[in-house]
């Protein structure tokens, strides 16, 4: 075990276990894929177990599952004002997927799939592309009317429209970068604390190693909050895409 700073970056390395190339498409199985599948399997199994003997008056497991579903359902219908309930399956899937991927990295020796910019970038670009597609579907070429907010005097338009376009294009970037930075920074702080704790003299070791306990608790909270924020912001973008101007 290396007690230098290189150890803090080593556990983010993507290790390819099995090379599978079909033409130019790279479908190799790496530890990202393995842990994403593990996260999905855990979420599916836990949700199935929660509802295995569904009664009208729920027991404890069913109550937790219903609370989770209702939380997302209420946020979605509250934020999307046109037919919010059509988007509940999408938002619930995103929430449980991102939550599962975030939390599975906290097991010892595991890898966090959402600490890779490729994974979070794909999720963010997917939601952004979906919002753009919805807007084209609904408004056709009136798409560009959203970039000039109402009540703005015509003189200011050449200044406002580029700013609006840039802030519109910054949405997937911030969505991806927010989740990636939170997950990576959390794990890296844990790595630095561990290295500090192991390299300290024996009578001071309790301090950094005790703080890692608090840091892991903070990480669990951040995992929940970040997946919630991703879903809320996606709902806001979809609502923005569907709204009339």
């Amino acid at each position: 075990m290396s007690l230098d700073m290189a150890g803090t970056i080593n556990h983010f390395k993507v290790i390819v276990y099995q090379d599978i190339h079909i033409g130019t498409i790279d479908l190799s199985i790496s530890n990202t894929v393995v842990f994403m599948l593990l996260a999905i399997a855990t979420v599916v199994i836990l949700l199935k177990l929660a509802f295995i003997r569904a009664k009208v008056i729920p027991g404890y497991g069913q109550l937790l599952g219903e609370m989770l579903y209702e939380f997302i359902a209420k946020q979605t219908t509250l934020n999307i004002h046109q037919d919010g309930k059509d988007y509940i399956p999408l938002m619930f899937t995103m929430f449980t997927f991102i939550l599962g991927c975030n939390l599975i990295g906290l097991l010892p020796g595991a890898f966090t799939p959402t600490s890779q910019l490729a994974v979070t970038g794909t999720l963010a670009v997917g939601m952004f592309g979906f919002a753009i597609w919805l807007r084209f579907n609904k408004h056709g070429w009136g798409f560009f009317r959203a970039f000039s907010p109402q009540g703005v005097p015509k003189v200011l338009l050449p200044l406002m429209v580029p700013i609006e376009i840039i802030s519109f294009l910054a949405r997937p970037v911030t969505l991806a970068l927010r989740l990636f930075a939170n997950m990576t920074a959390g794990h890296m702080a844990l790595g630095v604390l561990a290295v500090l704790g192991l390299a300290a003299p024996w009578f001071l070791q309790w301090l950094p190693l005790g703080f890692t306990v608090i840091q892991i608790a903070l990480e669990i909270m951040i995992a929940f909050i970040q997946s919630y924020i991703f879903v809320i912001l996606s709902c806001v973008y979809i609502d923005d895409a569907l709204a009339e101007h």
Binding site: T174, N182, I225, Y228, I229
Partner: protein
């Protein structure tokens, strides 16, 4: 002054940007405590906004950290 010697200075300057985020988080929660002290029934609704605001502000602190890591990676050739 070769570039690899300036890397730690660059990283330190980039990470110093987190002070703004610390102020922001303090402001959010101080207002939250004050509002709940004025009207305790509004705690549930205000909690939701407080946590959303906290996540958005903390993201800026993490952008500063990401820039520090980019500088660190840039100097490691």
């Amino acid at each position: 002054m070769d570039p690899t010697a300036m890397v730690p200075i660059g990283m330190g300057l980039a990470a110093a940007g987190m002070g703004g985020a610390a102020l922001g988080i303090g402001m959010i929660f101080s207002k939250m405590i004050e509002s709940v002290a004025r009207q305790p029934e509004s705690e549930a609704r205000l909690s939701k906004y407080a946590w959303i605001g906290f996540a958005l502000v903390e993201t800026i602190a993490l952008y500063a950290l990401v820039i520090a890591f980019i500088i660190m990676g840039h100097g490691q050739t």
